[in-house]
Symmetry: C2
Subunit: 360 residues, 2 copies
């Protein structure tokens, strides 16, 4: 796939050029604590070492790396945020250690290879934004043999959920279609213009918008009604772009709640900071974006809803086949196919269903 750099900048990078957006990430306490602890409880990885921060944004991870003892930190940022990062680096009097470079990490040339690559590259449901591609590219070019990735591992999770949102979206969709009917009549009556042949494409457009677009949600743990399954594991030291282009998994989830309803599925991720085999962490740190009462993150969970929901109960088993591909129009967005079979605890099997979703 050839990516038009101008389009990519207009569609993707532009948001990161706003301090407001960087502030949102810097206000995510769970995210911040994880990186902070990962760095400062594993100073041996940083002390006297060289570090590359892929997508430094405000410069936070680069500055922490320097404060943890790094000899040199290369902080690469594609947007004009680099200028602010430079200002902050100076304000912390670290300009001799942290070198801010404006540009895509793909295009940057460093004077040396590095011991550590640190990056906060995770998008919604881990892979949205496809920024890990850039980390892989940086790793293959600039990480020394035996070097360490921060984070070192990542996983995607999925679990059955209940939610009232599905019914709401369905009624929004129905409302949009009622509107359309009234509009058709009006336009025909007043202007002799008959658009009724477009009812099908219009309903497909609205269906995609209301029913097939996955949603950002901060799920309450009580909304999770069955066991969560790991649908992808990534070793950040060895994964190739090919490994993450497509995510496929077959998993089983057991319903753990009595007499409830299956409204759809919630997806989230976690990442770990474990260092590497030859150079392990002293303190392993986990950053999870699972449903949580007090430790929610700005990533929330990505929710895929069924219309209508399915009545379900404890002991029922779901076998779920999940496929995620990148959107052809925009490689940073995703398309998901979910296929699900419900096997009742009674042994009865429901007819399988299949849904397509867009992560926009």
């Amino acid at each position: 796939v050839v990516v038009d750099k101008g389009v990519d900048f207009a569609q993707y990078f532009c948001t990161y050029a706003f301090l407001y957006h960087q502030k949102e990430m810097l206000s995510d306490r769970v995210r911040m604590d994880a990186y902070f602890n990962a760095i400062f409880e594993n100073k041996h990885h940083f002390n006297g070492k060289t570090v590359l921060d892929v997508g430094t944004g405000s410069g936070i991870l680069a500055i922490w790396s320097a404060q943890a003892g790094a000899r040199k930190v290369y902080a690469v940022e594609a947007t004009k945020m680099s200028e602010h990062a430079r200002t902050i680096v100076k304000a912390h009097n670290l300009q001799d250690v942290v070198e801010v470079l404006e540009g895509s990490v793909e295009d940057v040339t460093l004077p040396e290879k590095v011991d550590v690559i640190i990056s906060e590259w995770m998008g919604y449901f881990l892979l949205r934004e496809s920024m890990f591609d850039s980390v892989i590219c940086a790793r293959d070019r600039w990480l020394k043999p035996g070097g360490v990735m921060y984070p070192s591992h990542a996983r995607m999770w999925m679990a059955p959920i209940r939610s009232g949102l599905g019914d709401q979206k369905k009624s929004d969709y129905d409302g949009a279609m009622d509107d359309w009917s009234a509009f058709l009549e009006d336009t025909k009556e007043h202007y002799g213009f008959d658009m009724s042949v477009l009812t099908k494409p219009f309903s497909e457009e609205q269906r995609k918008y209301y029913l097939q677009t996955s949603l950002w949600q901060n799920l309450h743990p009580h909304q999770v009604i069955g066991t969560a399954a790991i649908i992808k594991e990534i070793d950040c030291l060895t994964a190739t772009v090919n490994d993450i282009l497509k995510v496929t998994s077959n998993s089983i989830s057991s319903i753990t709640l009595e007499n409830t309803r299956l409204s759809g599925f919630g997806g989230w991720f976690d990442v770990h900071f474990r260092g590497s085999k030859v150079n392990p962490a002293q303190q392993e740190i986990e950053l999870t974006t699972a449903p949580s009462i007090n430790n929610g993150t700005h990533w929330g969970q990505q929710v895929f809803l069924l219309h209508p929901h399915i009545d379900i109960s404890e002991g029922d088993d779901l076998s779920l086949s999940f496929t995620m591909n990148r959107s052809k129009e925009n490689h940073r967005l995703m398309e998901v196919e979910l296929e699900c079979e419900v096997k009742r605890s009674s042994g009865k099997q429901l007819p399988p269903f299949r849904n397509k979703f867009y992560i926009e």
Copy 2:
């Protein structure tokens, strides 16, 4: 200015590919009535003639032109909406008259020149979207000498207004800055990361967002507190791109309400269908987007707010200097400079003020 076509498509054209968006325009009764009447009350312009519809969207204006008797209509549309237009043309059994061509009108080749160019090219405050450039290009290449433009004339208007929105936006801005202060303290205390050097750029970013971005509003006529001034007139038959690149005007507005407040300025436009000098309309039609109780349009008005407002009264005079340029980053967006001097009816002159706004 060189425009990256891919970026332009991603930023601009994409919205027009949604039926939902076309439906919004087709539901605008004032807009629809104006074009409908302009065409059907001036059939002599269409009967047996050739027509070019620049940006046909759903095909509506092309179909009406055909129904008014056109011999041939070329309906050009840049987006995939062209496929729907073609479907609708067939549903009206007009496929022998209306030829739908997918592509930018700039790139299209027609087999003949046309008698009429019709287009609904008007953006917010007339010129946002810069689509009239494309109409000019089409006119210079494809309109026969003596041909007619639909619409034939356009004007931009501006008037002093009162509104509570200015205070609200100011308090939103203040809230954002309070948030920032709390964020600075938190981030410093918890993570030793001091971003206070960025307070100025953050406040500029927020100021631009809350205070310097013009707003879409459906103003009530009572909110207009003084005389409206014409700040631009365009003859669609002769205007060049150079004539519309920059809009400058100096105008006087008299306050017509006692003891009120000047909260800012409202901008709108009208267009006229008058045919041409050699081939005038039988019925002149006007489409106005001025503040109105019952005849509002989807264009609303574009509102430029002052912070704080100024107490003002009947008989006070405002001399307003208005400059609008295209944004360097996106030629379809605008930047406005307003300079205003208030002269009290008592003769007293207030110090002039100057504000910069972005039409996003």
